[in-house]
C-alpha cells in the first residue's frame, strides 16, 4: 500500500523531471511520458481505492508511514503518508481527472511551441496535488499547498506573451499567498502548542484538551484562510476567473476539479480542529461565496468565466456543507463536482477549440456540428443544476439538507439555507444559459460556425468518460458510509458543544432531507425553465431586462467591483507604502546619513576657515617674519660652496672661542 503511495507520488515527479530536461528531444515531445505516468498512477490509485471499498469501514485508515525528515534535536519533523478512505477517494478523483486531462491535452495543445513544457507543468501539478492528498502532517500539506500554487502559477501563465495571462498568474499566486500566510499562522499556533505537525498527534492533543477555546477557534479560522485562498472563497475569490487565461484543460484540472477543491479537502482533513465558531465562520463564508459567484455568473459572456464563477459558487456550497456539519455532503460534492465541472470545462474547451473564441456572443447552434460535446455538456449541466438522478443532485441535495438541518436547529442561521437554495436556482439558470447560447439557436457568427468541427478522439473520449461518471447515481451510498464525520465524541470535552450540535442535527436530518430534496428540485426546474424562456424560446429579451435593471446588471457585470475595490485599496495602499518607504529610505534615513556626512564636512570647513584665519594667520605671520629675515639674509647664500665652508668653519671657531672663554 505504502509502496503504491510512494509510486503514485514519484511517477509524476519523475515525469516532470524527464520532461523539463529532455522532453523536447523525446519523440512526440514526450507527452506519453507524462500521460503514461498519470495513467499508471491512476491504476495504483484505483488499486488503493478497491482496497478501501473492500474493507468498507467508516473512516478506515488503510496505511500510514512516517520517516524522520528534519531533526532539530528537541523537535523532529517527520514526513509521512496517511492513507484512509478520504485519501483513497481523493487519489482516484485526482488521478482520474488528471489522466483524462492529460489525454485531452494531447489533442488540445497539439502544435503548441512549448508542448513539452506544458506536460511537464501538468506532471508537476499532479505530483503536488497527490502529495497534498497523501501527506500526514500540516507541514507537508503546507508544502504541497504552495507547490500546487506554483504549478497553477506556471500553467495560468503558460501563454505568458499575453499580458493578461501574465497578470492573471501573478494575481493567482499572490492572492493564494495571502491565504497561505493565514494558514501558516494557524499552523504556527498549533505547532507552538502541540510541538508536532502530524495530524494524528495534533488531533490527539486537541482531544486531550491541550488546546482549546478561543485559541483553537483562531487557529481554525487561520487555517481556513488557506482554504479561502486556494478554494477561491470570498473575499479572495478574485483570482479564479482571471485564472481562465490558462489553457482550458488546465482550467478543468486545476481550477475546477482538483486544486481549488484542495481547500475543501484540507478542511475535511482537519475537520476535528474546527470549533463550532470556526465552522460557523466557514459556513457563512461559503454562503456568501456561493451567492456572489452565482449572481455574477448570470451576466458574464465569456464561457470560461461563467464556468469559473460557477466553480467558485460550487466551492462555496462545499464549504457550507462542511461548515454546517455536513462533512460527508461537502466532500461528496467535491467528488461529484470534480467530474461534472471537469466535463464542463473540457466541453467548453472543445467548443473553444472549434470556434477559436470564448465569447458566447459569437457561438450558437453548435449542437449539430459537435454532437458528442453537446450531449456530454448537457449531462454535466443537468448534473450541476441538480436534476434527478444525476450525481450533482445527490451531492447538492445533501449540502442543502445539511444547511437546512443546521438552520432548523439554529433558526438564527436559517438564511444560509435560503441563500443557498436561491443560488441553486440561479445556478440552474446560468448553466442552461450557456447551453442555450452555445449549442442552440442560430449561429451568430457564421464564419466561425462554418469552421467548427467535432474534436478529435483524444478530446472526446475524456468527455464521454466523465459524462458516464457524472451520471453515476450509485455514488451516494458508498460515500455516506465510507466518509463519516469524524467521531467528535472520541475527542475531549471542548468539542462537547459540537457534539450536541451534531446530535440535534441528526434528529432533524431526516425531515430536512426531504424538504431540501423537493425544494431543490423545484428551484432547479424553475431556473431551467426561466433560462429556456429567455434563451431558448426567446420569449423574454435578456437585453431588455438588462437595460431595465441597468444598475444591477452593471454591478454584476463588474463582478461586484471586487477587483476595483482591491486595486483602489489594498494594491494601492501597498504600492503607496512601498513608494513611501523607499522614499523614506532614500530621503530620510539615507538623508540623515548623508546629512551627517555633509554636516561633518561643513563643520570641518568651518574649522578650516578658523584654522585659516586664526591659527594659520599666526603661523603665516611667523612665516612672513622668517621670510623677511630670510630675504635679508639671503645675501649669505652665495651658492658658492667655498663660502659656505668658510662660514661653517667660522662658526666653529666662534663656538670654540665662546666655549673656551
Amino acid at each position: 500500500m505504502i509502496t503504491s503511495a510512494i509510486l503514485i507520488l514519484l511517477l509524476p515527479l519523475v515525469a516532470f523531471i524527464i520532461q523539463i530536461f529532455v522532453g523536447k528531444r523525446l519523440p512526440r515531445k514526450g507527452d506519453w511520458v507524462s500521460t503514461g505516468a498519470m495513467f499508471a498512477a491512476l491504476a495504483l490509485s484505483v488499486g488503493i481505492f478497491i482496497d478501501a471499498v473492500a474493507q468498507y469501514e467508516p473512516n478506515n485508515v488503510l496505511a500510514t508511514a512516517t520517516w524522520d525528515w528534519i531533526n532539530f534535536g528537541p523537535v523532529h519533523v517527520t514526513f509521512g503518508f496517511l492513507i484512509d478512505n478520504l485519501t483513497a477517494f481523493m487519489l482516484v478523483v485526482v488521478t482520474l481527472v488528471s489522466s483524462l486531462v492529460h489525454l485531452y491535452s494531447i489533442g488540445y495543445m497539439h502544435g503548441d511551441p512549448r508542448y513539452n513544457r506544458y506536460f511537464a507543468y501538468l506532471s508537476l501539478f499532479s505530483f503536488s496535488m497527490l502529495g497534498l492528498v497523501l501527506v500526514d502532517n500540516l507541514f507537508g500539506i503546507y508544502i504541497f499547498w504552495e507547490l500546487v500554487g506554483l504549478s497553477s502559477y506556471l500553467l495560468i501563465g503558460f501563454w505568458f506573451e499575453k499580458d493578461s495571462a501574465a497578470n492573471a498568474s501573478k494575481k493567482a499566486f499572490i492572492t493564494n499567498r495571502v491565504g497561505d500566510v493565514g494558514m501558516f499562522a494557524g499552523i504556527m499556533i498549533l505547532f507552538s502548542i502541540t510541538g508536532t505537525f502530524s495530524f494524528n498527534e495534533v488531533f490527539a492533543a486537541v482531544a486531550d484538551g491541550h488546546v482549546g477555546g478561543t485559541l483553537l477557534t483562531v487557529a481554525g479560522i487561520l487555517l481556513f484562510f488557506g482554504a479561502i485562498g486556494k478554494s477561491a472563497q470570498f473575499p479572495l475569490h478574485v483570482w479564479l476567473p482571471d485564472a481562465m487565461e490558462g489553457p482550458t484543460p488546465v482550467s478543468a484540472l486545476i481550477h475546477a476539479a482538483t486544486m481549488v477543491a484542495a481547500g475543501v479537502y484540507m478542511v475535511g482533513r482537519t475537520f476535528v480542529l474546527y470549533t463550532p465558531d470556526a465552522l460557523l465562520f466557514i459556513a457563512y463564508i461559503g454562503t456568501i461565496t456561493a451567492f456572489i459567484a452565482a449572481t455574477i455568473a448570470i451576466v458574464q459572456m465569456d464561457i470560461k468565466r461563467v464556468l469559473a464563477y460557477s466553480t467558485i459558487s460550487q466551492l462555496g456550497y462545499m464549504m457550507v456543507g462542511l461548515g454546517t456539519g455536513g462533512y460527508t455532503a461537502g466532500l461528496f460534492h467535491l467528488t461529484t463536482h470534480a467530474f461534472f465541472k471537469a466535463l464542463l470545462f473540457l466541453g467548453s474547451g472543445s467548443v473553444i477549440h472549434a470556434v477559436h473564441t470564448q465569447e458566447m456572443d459569437e457561438m450558437g447552434g453548435l449542437r449539430k456540428k459537435m454532437p458528442i460535446t453537446f450531449w456530454t455538456f448537457l449531462i454535466a449541466t443537468l448534473s450541476i443544476s441538480g436534476v434527478f438522478p444525476l450525481s450533482g443532485f445527490w451531492s447538492k441535495d445533501a449540502i442543502l439538507a445539511s444547511a437546512l438541518g443546521f438552520g432548523m436547529t439554529h433558526p438564527a442561521h436559517m438564511p444560509i439555507f435560503v441563500v443557498l437554495l436561491l443560488s441553486a436556482g440561479v445556478t440552474a439558470f446560468y448553466m442552461f444559459r450557456i447551453v442555450f447560447l452555445t449549442f442552440t439557436g442560430e449561429p451568430r457568427d457564421k464564419k466561425k460556425y462554418d469552421h467548427a468541427h467535432e474534436s478529435p478522439l483524444t478530446m472526446t473520449i475524456p468527455l464521454v468518460v466523465l459524462a458516464v461518471l457524472s451520471v453515476g447515481t450509485i455514488w451516494w451510498g458508498w460515500v455516506e458510509h465510507m466518509l463519516v464525520k469524524p467521531e467528535l465524541a472520541s475527542y475531549g470535552s471542548h468539542v462537547a458543544s459540537a457534539v450536541e450540535h451534531a446530535a440535534e442535527e441528526h434528529g432533524v436530518a431526516h425531515s430536512a432531507h426531504t424538504i431540501a430534496m423537493f425544494s431543490s428540485v423545484v428551484v432547479a426546474t424553475l431556473g431551467i425553465l426561466l433560462s429556456a424562456v429567455v434563451y431558448f424560446w426567446r420569449k423574454i429579451s435578456a437585453d431588455a431586462w438588462a437595460e431595465k435593471l441597468k444598475p444591477i446588471h452593471t454591478f454584476l457585470w463588474n463582478k461586484y467591483y471586487f477587483d476595483e475595490l482591491y486595486a483602489a485599496t489594498i494594491i494601492r495602499v501597498t504600492l503607496f507604502k512601498s513608494r513611501l518607504f523607499a522614499a523614506f529610505d532614500l530621503k530620510i534615513i539615507d538623508g540623515i546619513v548623508n546629512g551627517t556626512g555633509r554636516l561633518t564636512a561643513a563643520f570641518s570647513r568651518l574649522q578650516g576657515s578658523i584654522d585659516l584665519r586664526g591659527v594659520d594667520g599666526a603661523v603665516n605671520f611667523v612665516a612672513r617674519f622668517v621670510g623677511y629675515l630670510g630675504s635679508q639674509l639671503r645675501g649669505l647664500q652665495t651658492g658658492n660652496i667655498q663660502a659656505y665652508i668658510m662660514m661653517a668653519l667660522f662658526a666653529v671657531v666662534l663656538l670654540f672661542v665662546f666655549q673656551q672663554f
Binding site: 667655498q642 663660502a643 668658510m646 668653519l649 667660522f650 666653529v652 671657531v653 670654540f656 672661542v657 673656551q660
Partner: protein, 161 residues
C-alpha cells in the same frame, strides 16, 4: 736619528704643501702635492706603517696625482683655459684657517693621550692582510664595490657631459 728624519719629512711635507696651496699655477700645485704625498709616505714609514706608506706612494702618487694631472692637462689642452688659479676671500680664509689651526693645536696639546708607544718595527703587510680578510672583511668588500661604483659613475658622468 728618527727625530731628524721626522723633522726632515715634516718640513718636506709642509713646505711642498705650502707650494701646493700658495702657488698660482695649477701645474706647480700639482708638483707640490706630489712632494707632499712623498713626505706623508715618509711619515708613514717613520710610524712603522710600511704597507700604508707603499700604498700611499702607489695610489696617490701613481694614481690620484696622475689622474689629477690628466685632468689638468686635458682641460687645458682642449680649452686653453688659463691654468692660473685665482684666489678668493683670502683674508677671511686666512683668519678662519688660523683659527682652526689654533683650535686644533689647543685640542691636541690639552688632551691627555693614552700613549702607549711601541718601539718595534715589524712588517705589517701580513697582519693587515689578515685583518682585511677577517675583521674588516665586510668593509673591505663594501669599499670594493664602492670603488667599482665610483669608477663606473665617474666614467658615466664624464662621458655624458
Amino acid at each position: 736619528m728618527q727625530d731628524i728624519m721626522f723633522y726632515m719629512f715634516a718640513a718636506l711635507t709642509i713646505a711642498s704643501a705650502g707650494v701646493m696651496v700658495f702657488s698660482r699655477s695649477v701645474i706647480y700645485s700639482a708638483v707640490g702635492l706630489l712632494f707632499t704625498f712623498f713626505g706623508v709616505a715618509g711619515i708613514y714609514v717613520l710610524l712603522a706603517a710600511d704597507f700604508v706608506a707603499v700604498a700611499q706612494v702607489m695610489i696617490y702618487v701613481g694614481g690620484i696625482l696622475v689622474l689629477l694631472l690628466f685632468g689638468v692637462m686635458l682641460s687645458q689642452r682642449v680649452t686653453g683655459v688659463n691654468m692660473r688659479t685665482e684666489t678668493l676671500q683670502t683674508v677671511p680664509a686666512a683668519i678662519v684657517a688660523v683659527g682652526v689651526l689654533f683650535i686644533l693645536f689647543r685640542v691636541i696639546s690639552k688632551t691627555e693621550w693614552l700613549v702607549k708607544a711601541k718601539t718595534t718595527f715589524e712588517p705589517t703587510t701580513a697582519k693587515l692582510g689578515t685583518l682585511l680578510m677577517t675583521d674588516y672583511l665586510i668593509p673591505f668588500e663594501i669599499v670594493s664595490v664602492l670603488l667599482l661604483g665610483a669608477l663606473i659613475g665617474a666614467a658615466f658622468i664624464a662621458r655624458k657631459g
